[in-house]
Each structure stands twice: as structure tokens, then as C-alpha cells.
Symmetry: C3
Subunit: 268 residues, 3 copies
């Protein structure tokens, strides 16, 4: 099977950055296949980068993910190679952007601080570790280099924490956060199908308390499980609990903020 | 020759969807080559998706096209594999988005309702047929699976109609629609070079009645066939009759609506 | 080593143009690898296209660059294949868009006017030389065709001039232009590390006179060489002198115009 490198960044598509990283990988490991999983993460938005990586790893649990959202780029910030339980390998800065994905992939098995001198990197340029350290590291992994060959092992407990964590169960309520909205206006929460399983939610209706708004919606299998314009809650393709309006926008209807707390319980 | 899969969707580039479909295809058929033909189709805009697919098939008449604009995704909506006269194979939902491309490729030769159990699909997830049914189907075709192996044959006359049809000739007038405007402000119509041939238009001037506006423009070979700022009508790279302003925007100048009727005749 | 084709255009990503050019290259030279280096160049903006190409060639000095920003497309405008000292091969229209990249790659070694009849091109369509002439030419080079086989040699002095030139030294001042701003609000100037070397600038502070604004900033190695919110001048990943605000936007702070003159000297 081809080794896939999923690439996520806040580089946008207006500059040469993304394509140059592709070229670096093509040359270092021609058999790797790079797929772009989102480069429009807002500049420096570690939370959105982490959310995108976590959505990706759910769908590609054995991929290599190269995640570059890096406001602190420079010699004092570590570059990481993190191995997860699922077999995924995550490459990116030590600023929390990798951790939610690692947790969704079963947790961190081992972490390494990438040492540019260990393999055939270019001299790392201070402003563009993505090109000079991280993309070459991802390419090396894709071509069979062991993560442990990239640098010294790091205690996973010493990594910078992720920007959001797992949901928690309090009595009969699940408590999480609004993670993000998608292009179609659906709202994703930091609540997984496994979390929801605690509520025996299938075929029921859920109440979601979202700050000033309380939404009650039936659990469906797809957006069209309800009438056009009606609200539905489902587990979407990235494995998150999602609030959607069939052919409409839940974001427009409820106007909640990213990061807001949500409390979920079964109503009937 | 490499088998090319042209991929069109309304997924945008901010989420993981497009890249995950690339990864699915890479793994299922490593020798396939996926090219992105436009993922910024507005959400649920079947007309724009169909227009993009029809432009693509004119230029890549033997490609596999994967077209995902799918407001009704769910178990009750069929997934199709359509074979066209040109050899093109079109994969997408049964909501009309494939039909204008099929018609431009010589018409539908055969159509099949994709049955996810027929080949090695994942269990289809209700919300993301693109990843779980349609991309695997396109990959299978690219690797030599016959369309007839994907599911039961469907009567082409029972497919959901396309959002726009061919132009028609009434006396000395061609009657069509405004199909779309492009990035440079040129206006494309649902009128092909073959349609225009009925008017013996080369080297002439055409009158285009567009609602309240009537435009008279010379037929040219390229945008620079006329002075800067002047209007010209030509057959563009996607094979549609196009109204353009050299180094300017016909859309801004004439302000017509997508879908508006156009009546075309030769004036001299 | 894989031959990489870097592709830059003003086509945007909403139409089929970019993907169709990818498909043309895949079919003509399957072993070529195309990387996208920016397709959101504003329509007809030769300056921005040239700046993007010049940034790319600094990072990929032996690549093939396909650069299509082409307001004058038509039979009277020449298509070029330019060979640079570094080994780079540049393919695009003769309107200046290739020249700054060629100069950064050591200057033009040879230039050829591409003759579509020389190799197995399709009949060139008047409106889309990118697909019908330039992409096939880039693919031919990637598969080993010599540039001299593509058409007649052209005197480099007869090529249309680039939209910006090199900086110049006047006494102890370097005089250049504001080249562009990037996604993070950093300002790049038409001044290279080699130009700056004339000022023995490392570890010093520089004064930049920018129209009404004069900025004094320390030279750093990376954005985080200074406090958050502080200004720093550095040589960025594309090799240009760059004025940046750590985790902020120099463009917003100083509001200068692209193309404005900048005068740089060491202050202490």
C-alpha cells in the first residue's frame, strides 16, 4: 500500500510554500503520495489546525500527517515526530497542534524531537522549518526511516498541551465544546461516537445546551433523515457529533461561538 | 496512457474532504492520477457542478469524472456510474449533475446504480458517499473494473434530468442560456461550436439578446482579436460560445444573470 | 531524481483550467511531477506572477517552471522556453513574467520561441495556450526533450522586459521596491541576501525609508527573534529581504504600496 502523507497548514494557496513542500517530498521520497487536507487554516490558528488534523486521522488512521501551524517558528521551538497507537505518525511543531489527533489515534506511543543533523536535511532555515525540517522528516518516514532515528525521545507528558481535549460525562450529560463549523454550516462538537455511546442515543432526541440557546434535535443517519430545513444531530464523516440543518446552515440558525461549551443529554 | 480521474465537488478546500477522497483513490488504485477540476462549486449548486463537468469533458473526453454536488446525500438517493459515447465514465449522484457532461460526450451509452456491496467498499457512511462509494467506484474504473460490475443497469430515461439542456435553433436564431461567468468575467452560454455552425458565423458579427440588453459583437479567434476594452464573441477553451471584453469583464459590463435566456443571430 | 514542474497561473481554482493542464502533462509525461506554486495570482497581474516565479526559483533552482499570466494571449504573442544558468527551464508567454526568475537563476542562457508544430502538440487553440502549447512544452522538457528542439532561438535582449528589476547600491544605500506582502502580512522587497551583503548587515539595525514612513528594525534570523508585536527584518524563505512583525502584520502597521521605492541603510 502506498504511504500517504496528509498535509495541513496555515500557508494558504497564494504563495509558493505548499508547492515547495510538495517538491521537497517528491524528491526525498518519490513513492510517497501527498494529499492536501486543508491549507486555509487561519494564520497561527493552532485550534483549527488541530481540529483539521483530528478529523483527518479519524479517516486515515495509518497515515503520516504533516501539520504546520507554527506561530513560534524559530530555534527555540521543538519539531516533533509523534507515533500514535493506531500506527499514525504525526510531524509538526511542539505547540499542541498534533495532540488532539494523537489522542483520537489511541494516544501517544512515542515522541521524538527532530534533530535536523540526523538525516540528510538541508541546513534548517530559521523561518521555514516546514520545508527544511518537517517535510523532509515526513518524507523520511514515508520511505521507511524509523521515527526513533530522527532525534531524541521526548516524554509525552512534557509536550505542549493541545488546544482542546476530550469531552467528559457528568451524570447523564456529556460536556464538550463547539469544535468548528464546516462549509455547509454544520456545527461539530468535541464529542465522538464513542462518547455518545454512553447516552444510548440512537433513534432518540438530544438536547444541546449552547450558552443562551437550547436545541432539541432528533438523531439521524444523514442530513436528509429530516425534512428540508429541519435540524438533525448525527455523527458525521469525521466522527464528531454534528448539528446540521438539512440543506441549510446550523451556524446561521444558532450563531454559536467556536470553543463554546455544549451540554448534551437524551430527552426522549 | 495513464487513466485520469477528474474530480469536481462543492467541498471547498478548507476541510479534509477533498484530500481524503484523494487518499482513498491512491490506496485503491495507485496508478490512477487524480486532477482537481474545481472544488469551489457553491454548496449544493447542481447547475454549477454540471457546468464544470461539461467544460471538463469537452477537454478530457476519455477521462473518468468524479462529480460530487449532492444536497440529497443519503440512502434514498442513487449513486451512478454513467458511460458516455466518447468513452468517458461519469461517477456521481443521480441528481442531474452528470447529464450535461454525458450529453456533451455523445450521450449516455449505459448507466448503472452503484451497489456498495459489489466490490471492496467500506461500509458506506450515510453522510459521505464521496469517500465511501463514489471515490472507490472511480478508482475501480481507473484500475480496469467494468462499469457493469458496479451495480444494476438503469434505464437512462429514468435518470434525474440535468439542470440545463442543449440550445435550440428557431429559424435563424439560436436560443440558449447564460451558463456561467469565469474568473476573467467572460460569459459562457449553453451554445457549442457545433450549434453555432448552423449560423455560418465565422468572420461575422453576432447579436445576442440578453433580457434588457442587446449586445452586438464581432466573432474573433481570441480575446486579443479586438482592441483592449472592446467586446468579442468566440468559442472558448471549454467549447462554449463566450462573450468577452479584451482585458476587461463582460459580466461587469452587461450584468446578466446566470440562467437567463439568450437569443443569438448573425447581423452582418 | 524526479523532474518537478512548478506551475503558477492567474487561473484561480474555480474553473477546470489548472486541472486540465495537469491532465495534459500527466498524459504527455507520466513521470513528471507537477506541484502547484500559486494559481491565485490576480487576473492579468504580470508583476505578481513574476514575483511568485522568482520566489519559487530561489527554492527550486533546477525545476521546470510553467508560468501562465497572459493578458495578451493570441497568435501575435510569443510562447517562450527560457533556459537559466542554474539549470532551471522557464516556460510561459513573452510578456516579462519569466524574466525576474531567470535573473535570480543566474540569468538567461538561451531562449526559444516555442513552435507548436515542432512536437506533438494539439492544434493550438487561440484562447488557451497554457493547455495547448505551454503545458505540453513543459511536459516535453520533463521527459528529456531539449529546449532547442522546441523552436527557433531568440535573442535574450529582445524579450519583453520583466515588471521589476534588481536593486541597486548608491553609496551606502540599497534602493529597491516593495515586491509583495504575504499571507501573514510580511513585506518582501526586491532585495536579496546577496544585495544585503554589501551592507554588512548581520546583527545590525536597518533603516528602511518607505515613502512617508521610515522604519528602523533589528536584523533577525526568524520572526521570533524579537518580542511578540515587535518589528524585525530578515531574509525569508524565498530569499528576499522581508519586514515582519512577530505574530502581527507589517502590511497593516505600515500600509505601504506594492511597487513603492524602498531605501535601506545600516543605522548602527
Amino acid at each position: 500500500m502506498q504511504r500517504v502523507i496528509g498535509f495541513i497548514s496555515d500557508f494558504g494557496l497564494d504563495d509558493t510554500w505548499v508547492g515547495v513542500c510538495h517538491a521537497v517530498i517528491v524528491r526525498a521520497c518519490p513513492q510517497a503520495r501527498v494529499v492536501d487536507l486543508g491549507h486555509n487554516v487561519p494564520p497561527f490558528d493552532i485550534r483549527k489546525g488541530a481540529a483539521t488534523a483530528a478529523a483527518a486521522i479519524h479517516q486515515l488512521p495509518d497515515a503520516i500527517l504533516l501539520v504546520v501551524v507554527d506561530p513560534g517558528v524559530g530555534p527555540s521551538r521543538r519539531d516533533l515526530c509523534v507515533v500514535a497507537q493506531s500506527g499514525a505518525v504525526l510531524v509538526g511543531p511542539d505547540n499542541g497542534v498534533l495532540l488532539p489527533a494523537a489522542q483520537r489515534a489511541g494516544g501517544v506511543t512515542a515522541a521524538y524531537a527532530i534533530d535536523p543533523t540526523k538525516i540528510d536535511f538541508r541546513a534548517p532555515l530559521a523561518t521555514f522549518h516546514a520545508r527544511d525540517v518537517l517535510a523532509p522528516a515526513a518524507a523520511a518516514i514515508a520511505c521507511g526511516v524509523q521515527p526513533s532515528a530522527l532525534g531524541e525521545q521526548v516524554d509525552p507528558d512534557e509536550l505542549v498541551q493541545g488546544p482542546f481535549g476530550a469531552s467528559r460525562l457528568e451524570g447523564d450529560e456529556l460536556i464538550g465544546e463547539v469544535l468548528e463549523s464546516d462549509r455547509f454550516g454544520s456545527l461539530r462538537f468535541t464529542i465522538t461516537a464513542e462518547d455518545l455511546a454512553h447516552l444510548s442515543y440512537k433513534g432518540r432526541r438530544l438536547e444541546m445546551a449552547l450558552g443562551h440557546v437550547t436545541v432539541i434535535a432528533p438523531v439521524g443517519e444523514s442530513f436528509s433523515s429530516v425534512e428540508e430545513g429541519a435540524v438533525v444531530v448525527l455523527v458525521d464523516s469525521s466522527g464528531w457529533m454534528t448539528l446540521a440543518v438539512n440543506r441549510g446552515s446550523a451556524l446561521e440558525r444558532y450563531g454559536v461561538s467556536i470553543g463554546a461549551t455544549v451540554r448534551v443529554r437524551v430527552v426522549d
